[in-house]
């Protein structure tokens, strides 16, 4: 039973956590692609920027003497989401909209977004340095040990407070997004624009308003994902590099332009990662007594060593692009 608990901790808990992060990022990528028709490579940097905004907000709240039962970084999250939404709108106005108005081809916008990536990473390094930072300097991170009620397992399931908050936040974001897209006038206009931008314009839909709304949602969710990941581990200034590939893999697996697909894709990539780096010999060892002695169970038996985790989303990406380029939910071909 302890082995199973180990599996739950290493695969189910970790997969749900990282899957939620990827989902929050991938929704933004997929919405931006659906409405503005380009792959926004600077999305990972919006997540980094959001995390730093939350860190700054947390420092500010701390200086004001605010103390809460929740992690102060989480309390600062709404501020970070607003700041990042404004940043995303500002980036659009400064770099992407002028290109859009001149009728630039999508590849030009993709290149511009790579430029924005380099710029944002430079700015982060300039102002924040390269060392990882922790949100938990002045307070303690609550860790919940859920002891199992039966005797066979003496090891507990371990979840941290940020992890619980992350899952709740992701669930709330998904439900809110669903209602927004299917019930509100602006949300329906977003779906209409994603479906057929020319017809949206002809119908009198304000496509610039739709674009702004898209950046607000994408920026807000990116900030949430970046902040929650940093609360769970640490805030690394090069966060975006490790996030970009899994997020794009998630968006493509789910079907580009399909928000629900992006959420499913995020969890799929997250679980694929944790399953791949899991040491399966832990579970196989249980079988040792019934196996013949000639079979030796190696001490380490994972599909991929943890330091090569990044190949997992890459592999998924290649497989999907070769066999089903439209993704699970039949999105567009990037």
């Amino acid at each position: 039973m302890n082995e199973l608990v180990f599996f739950v901790n290493k695969v189910l808990v970790a997969g749900t956590v990282i899957g939620s992060i990827y989902a929050l990022g991938a929704v933004g990528v997929t919405l931006v692609f659906g409405i503005l028709r380009f792959a926004h490579f600077a999305h990972g940097d919006l997540m980094t920027a959001g995390a730093f905004a939350a860190l700054a907000g947390a420092a500010g709240l701390h200086a004001l003497g605010v103390s809460t039962p929740l992690p102060i970084g989480f309390v600062a999250l709404p501020l970070a989401m607003i700041a990042t939404a404004l940043l995303a709108m500002g980036l659009d106005r400064t770099f992407y909209r002028p290109l859009r108005e001149r009728g630039a081809r999508p590849i030009v916008l993709v290149m511009a977004s790579i430029g924005v990536t380099l710029m944002l990473q430079g700015l982060v390094r300039l102002f924040a340095g390269t060392a990882p930072r922790s949100f938990f300097t002045g307070e303690r991170k609550d860790i919940f040990h859920i002891a199992l009620p039966f005797d066979l397992a003496d090891r507990p399931i371990i979840v941290t407070e940020p992890q619980v908050l992350l899952v709740l936040l992701t669930a709330a974001a998904v439900v809110a997004l669903h209602y927004f897209l299917t019930r509100s006038r602006l949300g329906k206009a977003m779906r209409a624009t994603s479906d057929n931008a020319d017809l949206a314009r002809v119908s009198g839909i304000d496509t610039e308003l739709v674009a702004r709304t898209t950046w607000i949602i994408a920026g807000g969710l990116a900030a949430a994902g970046g902040t929650m990941l940093s609360l769970d581990v640490t805030l690394k200034p090069d966060l975006s590099f490790s996030l970009l590939l899994p997020i794009f893999a998630a968006a493509i697996v789910g079907g580009v332009g399909q928000p629900y697909g992006a959420i499913a894709g995020g969890f799929l990539v997250g679980f694929a990662e944790t399953l791949s780096v899991f040491n399966w010999s832990v579970l196989l060892r249980v079988l040792a007594p019934v196996l013949p002695e000639t079979v030796e169970i190696p001490t380490k038996l994972a599909f991929v060593p943890p330091e090569y985790k990044i190949v997992v989303p890459f592999f998924i990406l290649v497989v999907v692009l070769v066999w089903r380029p439209t993704g699970i939910f039949r999105g567009r071909v990037l």
């Binding site: 006038r185 329906k188 209409a192 020319d198 017809l199 949206a200 002809v202 119908s203 009198g204 839909i205």
Partner: protein, 233 residues
């Protein structure tokens, strides 16, 4: 005059397609634009609706100069456009398609949705279905219904019967008459010149981006030269 285009020059990029097209329509009239392929029929509609840059000439709508106005502002003024292809939001339901037609309205438009269902009864049962799943004829109803949600005074239709079977074609013409009967002016481009001129108050025959004949629909139908050159004898 409801709409009046004078000496329109417009095209795609460097290529000029319209070389001085003029047309005028009174409120509540049906106007039909016919002509051979490449004559500039669809281009004329797009130029009127601000989808192409007009380099010379002018468009007046309801007394105001709207040359090169944006489609959005024209929709607000009471002009609607139904493109020839991809004219419904396929992944949105029928009802949502109609709601998108009313995007510029901030008032309560539920009675209008009801009116569209009364005008196109088959849509009522399909209101919750994605428009992409409908038949060609029903899609055309959704497309027209969407355009009517702003209560336009002028409806621009780009080949509304393209790709439809003859049965649906007559149905579409009947629906256009029904829409017109509610006081909406209609300006349409049509390949089925004979049938279209039959319901037209005014007909405009274009060739190589210029007006060749302009008259009432009946007179154009009766004109032997129009018949020989443009109606297939």
């Amino acid at each position: 005059m409801l709409v009046e285009a004078a000496n329109l020059h417009a095209g795609y990029g460097e290529m000029n397609i319209l070389d001085g097209v003029s047309l005028a329509l009174e409120a509540g009239e049906i106007g039909v634009v016919i002509g051979p392929n490449g004559a500039g029929k669809s281009t004329t509609l797009k130029a009127l609706f601000g989808l192409l840059r007009v380099s010379e000439g002018s468009v007046r709508f309801d007394g105001a100069d709207v040359t090169n106005a944006t489609p959005e502002s024209l929709v607000r003024r009471g002009m609607s456009f139904v493109p020839q292809e991809r004219n419904v939001f396929e992944t949105l339901t029928v009802q949502e398609n109609l709601e998108m037609g009313a995007f510029v309205r901030r008032d309560d438009y539920r009675h209008l949705v009801e009116r569209i269902y009364a005008l196109f009864p088959p849509l009522r049962d399909k209101r919750g279905q994605p428009a992409g799943e409908l038949s060609g004829g029903q899609r055309q109803m959704v497309a027209m219904g969407r355009a009517l949600m702003v209560e336009p005074r002028l409806l621009l239709l780009d080949e509304p019967t393209a790709g439809l079977s003859p049965l649906f074609m007559s149905q579409v013409f009947e629906q256009i008459l029904a829409v017109n009967a509610t006081g909406v002016g209609v300006l349409m481009v049509e390949q089925n010149a004979r049938q279209a001129l039959g319901i037209a108050h005014k007909g405009f025959v274009l060739a190589s981006g210029r007006n060749r004949f302009t008259d009432t629909g009946q007179k154009l139908l009766a004109d032997p030269e129009v018949a020989r050159s443009f109606l297939g004898g």
